[in-house]
């Protein structure tokens, strides 16, 4: 056990002989896909609850497709499928982008988490208390201002616990990234396993690293909830 840690700690944490690997790679992949997914999901959630079927429909279709198919298949499609198209190969920009396994994985993960997050946020918008909207109307807010000042901030607050869950699920979902040759924590564990055949130690260290990240995420979202959901706490005075 100690020999494995001594020999492979660098690969597990951040560097596998010249390239980013292990914990650093998993975190980078998680941060980039969750960030893109979050930014895109807020407008998509607003579109998802629109009264206009031409606005609502495409978003419904998008979330249906990405929530209805396994992430692993989405990754394979983006990694091997898209790159084999001649349109992609002939365009310089697309070629450079899809050539890198990391970009394919980040894109697949971002679209996937965005679909789930959109539904979480849309659900939270639907359950906005009537009173908040009436109050906004009474102030004479336009629809845009009402969304900006009332509905979206309120929705983000109420969705926070569910969103925290989604981020942790996304962390675990990153373990399929090696299919696109991204050297994440699990890939390093497989390397160690095939070099030493000490399976329990190799995968045990990986499990511990994921547990540490999950613990940190739980703590982080707990802090955010304490901050933004403070108004829900029982008042003492």
């Amino acid at each position: 056990m100690i020999e494995i840690v001594q020999e492979y700690w660098q690969a597990y944490l951040w560097n596998d002989g010249g390239q980013l690997s292990g914990l650093a790679m998993t975190l980078w992949l998680l941060v980039i896909s969750v960030a893109i997914g979050f930014v895109m999901s807020v407008p998509l959630a607003v579109a998802r609850v629109s009264k206009n079927p031409w606005v609502r429909g495409p978003v419904w279709f998008y979330t249906y497709v990405f929530r209805g198919t396994p992430l692993y298949i989405q990754l394979l499609l983006f990694y091997t499928g898209v790159y084999s198209l001649s349109v992609v190969q002939s365009s310089d920009l697309l070629n450079t982008f899809f050539r890198e396994g990391f970009n394919c994985a980040a894109l697949a993960f971002a679209l996937n988490t965005c679909a789930y997050t959109t539904e979480i946020f849309a659900g939270a918008i639907r359950s906005t208390p009537h009173g908040e909207i009436e109050a906004a109307r009474a102030y004479g807010m336009s629809t845009f201002t009402m969304y900006r000042r009332v509905i979206i901030p309120s929705m983000l607050r109420r969705a926070l616990p569910f969103y925290g869950n989604e981020v942790i699920l996304m962390l675990h979902a990153t373990t399929v990234a090696f299919t696109a040759t991204v050297p994440d924590i699990l890939k390093v564990a497989r390397d160690v396993n095939s070099a030493t055949y000490a399976s329990f130690e190799a995968f045990g260290i990986a499990a511990a690293l994921y547990a540490v990240i999950a613990f940190f995420l739980v703590w982080l979202f707990r802090r955010c909830e304490m901050h933004w959901l403070a108004f829900l706490k029982p008042q003492s005075h």
Binding site: G17, Y83, Q89, K187, R190, D191, S194, Y197
Partner: protein
């Protein structure tokens, strides 16, 4: 209590007897490596290793059971008794010998660099500088590429399985790949997908990493099974079974 002791004792005794007689031999195989082991359209396992394994079972009068397992988890699974022997193009190496025992040699296939035809790539650091070379993770090809080229300006990209390596070679993500000659020839170069590809340079040499050939991998404590299999292999060479089976797949001598 008494009943429990008796039943446990009986259970132990019965497994002990089974292990000695070897009525059933379970072979671990990763069916992702034609023509040695792959799956036919109807889901049946086919290939040279499969034929050899079935012939070995016939010789030692045991029933063959094939257990599919990922290649990189083969040795742990053998030790965990998920099966009794590995028969999956497993090269004999010193590192593996620390963990498991090997039978006598089954066959030997050289390893070469595969690249696009007319690309002028050679298996040297100078020629491969700045190029991307794909290898299957956990194989001797990966160890070779990492030891000889990794960290010297050559990007060695490990893949989860060989299908993904070949797919990326075709799509152009990779400039080359280290492959076993027979596998690359029959499963790739002779197919429509691989017709623009060929071997670059000669056989790669490093006995320490690449080993001397493949063999059946066994648990160290199952010496009786090892002896049985060795005898079966020797018999197959003597009575011409081996030559007959190898002719079915290869046009050259796969043993020496």
């Amino acid at each position: 209590m008494k009943k429990l002791v008796i039943s446990v004792a009986l259970a132990l005794a019965s497994t002990g007897v089974m292990a000695k007689e070897w009525n059933v031999v379970r072979f671990g195989v990763d069916a992702n490596y034609a023509p040695f082991e792959s799956k036919a359209a109807d889901g049946k396992l086919v290939g040279f290793d499969i034929d050899l394994g079935n012939a070995i079972c016939e010789k030692i009068k045991a029933k063959c059971v094939w257990v599919e397992n990922d290649f990189d988890g083969m040795i742990p699974a053998l030790k965990a008794k998920k099966f009794d022997a590995i028969l999956s193009s497993l090269s004999v190496t010193d590192k593996r010998k620390e963990q498991i025992a090997f039978s006598d040699k089954l066959f030997n296939t050289p390893v070469r660099l595969v690249a696009r035809k007319g690309s002028s790539l050679q298996p040297t650091v100078e020629s491969l500088k700045g190029k991307r070379i794909g290898v299957q993770q956990g194989t001797v090809m990966e160890s070779f590429a990492k030891a000889h080229w990794g960290g010297k300006g050559v990007t060695v990209v490990p893949y989860q399985n060989n299908d993904l390596v070949l797919a990326d070679l075709v799509s152009g993500r990779l400039d080359g790949s280290v492959q076993e000659v027979v596998l690359a020839d029959t499963a790739f170069l002779k197919t429509a997908q691989g017709r623009n590809f060929g071997f670059a340079g000669g056989n790669l040499n490093d006995v320490k990493i690449l080993g001397v050939g493949t063999a059946v991998g066994l648990r160290k404590e199952d010496n009786d099974l090892r002896l049985l299999i060795n005898k079966a292999i020797a018999d197959m060479h003597k009575d011409g079974t081996y030559q007959r089976l190898s002719k079915k797949y290869f046009s050259f001598d796969i043993y020496h």
